[in-house]
Amino acid sequence: MERRNFIKISALTGMLATLDACGRPDQELIRFVPEEDLIPGIATWKPSVCTLCSAGCGLLVRVMEGDAEVVRHGQRGLMQMGLAKKLEGNPRSPINQGKLCARGHAGLQVLYNPDRITHPIRRTGARGSGEYQAIGWDDALKELSTHLTALQSAKATNSLSFLTRPLSGQRRELIERFLKVFGAPPAVWYEPFDEAVLRQANFLSFGHGALPTFDLGRADYVLSFGADFLGTWNSPVAQSVGYGEMRQGRSGRRAKFVQVEARMSQTGANCDEWIACRPGTEGLLALGIAHVILSNKLAPQGAAFRAGSLIAGWSAGLPESTPEAVENQTGVNAAVITRIAHEITKSGSGTAIIGGAPLAHTNGLFNALAVNALEALVDRGRDQGPILGFTPDPAIGDAGQPAVSAPTGLAGLNSLAQSALGGQPNAPQVLFLYEANPIFSAPPGTKIREALARIPYIVSFGNFIDETSAQADLILPDHAPLESWLDSIGESGSLQSVVNLAPPAVAPLHDTRAMPDVLLGLASQLGGDVAKALPWTTFDALLRAAYVPLRARGGSIDPKTDDDFWTALQAQGIWSSTPGTASAAGSRSAAGASSPAAARRAPTAPAAPEFAGNADDFPFHFLPYVSQSFGDGSLANLPWLQELPDVLTTAMWSSWVEINPSTGARLGIQPGDLVEIGSQQGRVRAAAVLSPGIAPDVVAMPVGQGHDNFGRFASGRGANPLSILATLAERETGSLAWAATRVKIVRIGAPEQATLTLFSEGRSGFPHEEESR
């Protein structure tokens, strides 16, 4: 083609394309004036806080110029703006030390998720029908405040309920304060894998009602009872940093790591010795090891301080817990018990950790107290004090406080459900829903679905439709975390106090509003005492008032004025106390001994676990486990995590059931076969994975899949093991005993009927028909 012709044709097609867009409003986006001054191609790094689990890792967000479709003043248009391109760990954070886990990286896909709710909506069809109508923020807030004023004038302010997951920092403070001044009952903080049992045990044993911090980099011997500390439990990034150090960080000193669990976790896969223990008997095993230590005088009996005296028979050397007796109870060989007792005491610096399934039995608190006593006995510290410590309270907000007195977790959810179903005078009339999805994550026995149906008015602040928010009458979508003011107070993972605070890393894409700002706006509309108690107009003003007093504590930011402190805190994203100023680790035993609640408590006798379902009809223990990718299921809508191969099975986009090969052989189950797991509460189906890392009488299933209404990436995929759990609770704390359900297994069909996709093998039986494109 001649050059001249080419230019003519190009010009013509270009013109046609322009004309083509005319008269089609969706292609006539207006262009907004940029709000920021950005240089194309140059990245800036802004601090933020990871919200994909509760560890509180600090982030740095790589922000670069780009064009995005945004909504401003109700008008959709294109804007040149700073866009988040990559997340990295913030090196200033003493918790994650510049590192970030798989989930953390996927925070970007929360921000850019195509299934986000982009503006306020009001339900028009039946609940759950998915029929909504767009509504402006002004109208939406007017509607909401009308409902609240009606409660006030009917003197029924106690029929406002707030259902959320356990939050940290000032979001929690704000919600608590709002509910209190409004006259409503405290919020219900529900998540299926809450840590109430461990916090309570640590409060009793060590005087700190918080999650523990392990300085693994100094450990010579780690004995872990079920804790998936490298994957999903507590502060995995901080613990992984320490793990690398204890393996190869010190020349000539490689720690030994022993994992006790009935199903090999990602963490257990890294151990030097793996011990399968009967589910729920982990505490008895700990006492067996303690018995050998005490009777051979490998450590002084008083070394365990208060933690030891909480266990019945401790001062007498635990005469009942001989290795032989414990072998009968736990299935762990007596010789192994004796050997571990000798190894851990001679190693120099040993530590015992408990987390996960052992706490999720009806005797979870006993298991935790027994392991804590063993920990105090063996963890005497070699150089710089014990391996286990607690993050000092920065004297602000809620961190480090003992277990909350209001009913939380399963108990809170149950009481909410019962009062709604019972139709009592104080039954909830208005429910606020924020970052909790109990219809998916609570066992069916809580009847939360039925209870929500009885509540006349439900408002959700969620930015996605999920099983629970689909029941809402009004949805006021929150910003994505990277678009929000964020704060968190580190509960564990560091022996320094850590406060994360970050302004929005990027401007909002959609017509959303931050939940804290909506609450503050409501407070000012309601007026009176409510407005007086919450005088801030925006959340950042509240954050400033809460965190500027930290300046008096010194620490990592040392400015001359409050204004300078506030500016520096926003720029750095982290405030941490000076290392070693508040040694919680050193004072833990004394604090435990002096705490009045601990002193009142009678010694705990060994307790056996109870299970839902008898062993004849339901021969297998059922172990749902927290997924490395999806947590409790709230991250299942992120495609990077859906396509991330599970590290033990290489499974993607799927659910599966882990079964011991000998059990599979006995029941005629081949790899990939479709099987059905049945409990007294229900049945789920998934593909079988035959794994040598699971006891023959246990079957395990990852939590996270099985959503029926959670966006395009998660809906209609796999099965939800939480939906067949019994509503058993830990005896003393009332937490959900999610490892206490018994099940049976039936083979349903060949792999073709299941949908298990493996990265290593694709999907067996997948038809390889001709493709056309």
């Binding site: 690398g244 990602q266 963490t267 890294n270 894409l509 590290v647 090969p661 040598p692 395009r712």
Partner: protein, 235 residues
């Protein structure tokens, strides 16, 4: 100054957490292919964590091994490419020129490590997921082979930065996305031409091995074997 980029993977530190896998997706605009394509074995992970089981219950053992392009000195993928899309850079990388690639897939056949991935379709991102794309990395289209580049865009931008500051690029100026996220420091990236770099030091460890080194591919990724626990009480 010349550079020879290399990586050391300490299998004693690796926990199998797969932070590297997602970090790589985010950095390098790797598409998620969806369930159906994944079921056909077309999922793309430039770095993956392989696991092998040894033994049976009650003493099973798992070993994790992150596998990425080994950036071989004698790379089997390079000589088979009819269009010179796979070529060897002066800094020791197995480069892949997307514009030259015509999708014969000879390179993927030749590679013993299974670390090359073919785009069977044009990648798609449901809007606004496209906004996550890294502007420093080109998006590959249908018919193109892609693979780990040792984050060549980070190498280039560190080079430009050093030049702007009138200095030599030095070890630690940058690292790959996978190594940056690795909490247990199992992945260490650096320059073998710098005798003081961390990779030079680690590569001379007596635990160092090469993956399928017997094939003569001369990989620039070294693996440090898992350690064993020495019982202080028995000795």
């Amino acid at each position: 100054m010349s550079h020879k980029w290399a990586m050391v993977v300490d299998l004693d530190r690796c926990t199998g957490c797969e932070a590297c896998v997602v970090a790589c997706h985010a950095e390098n605009n790797i598409p998620t292919v969806g369930e159906d394509q994944a079921a056909r074995g077309r999922a793309m992970h430039w770095i993956r964590v392989e696991r092998s089981w040894e033994g049976d219950f009650p003493n099973p053992q798992i070993r994790f091994q992150p596998v990425l392009c080994q950036q071989c000195d004698d790379a089997p993928c390079e000589p088979v490419c009819p269009t010179y899309a796979s070529y060897h850079t002066s800094e020791g990388l197995n480069g892949q020129v997307y514009n030259r690639c015509i999708g014969t897939r000879f390179c993927a056949n030749a590679c013993p490590y299974n670390v090359r991935f073919f785009n069977f379709y044009n990648p798609t991102w449901d809007l606004p997921l496209n906004l996550q794309l890294n502007p420093d990395v080109s998006v590959r289209s249908v018919g193109i082979m892609e693979k780990c580049t040792f984050c060549v865009q980070r190498i280039k931008s560190a080079e430009i930065q050093a030049e702007a500051e009138h200095r030599e690029m030095k070890d630690g100026d940058f690292t790959t996305a996978c190594a940056q996220s690795c909490a247990s420091k199992a992945l260490v990236f650096g320059d073998l031409d710098d005798p003081d770099s961390e990779v030079s030091r680690l590569q001379s460890s007596n635990r160092a091995t090469k993956l399928l080194g017997e094939l003569g591919t001369k990989p620039n990724v070294s693996y440090l074997e898992r350690g064993t626990w020495q019982d202080a009480t028995s000795g």
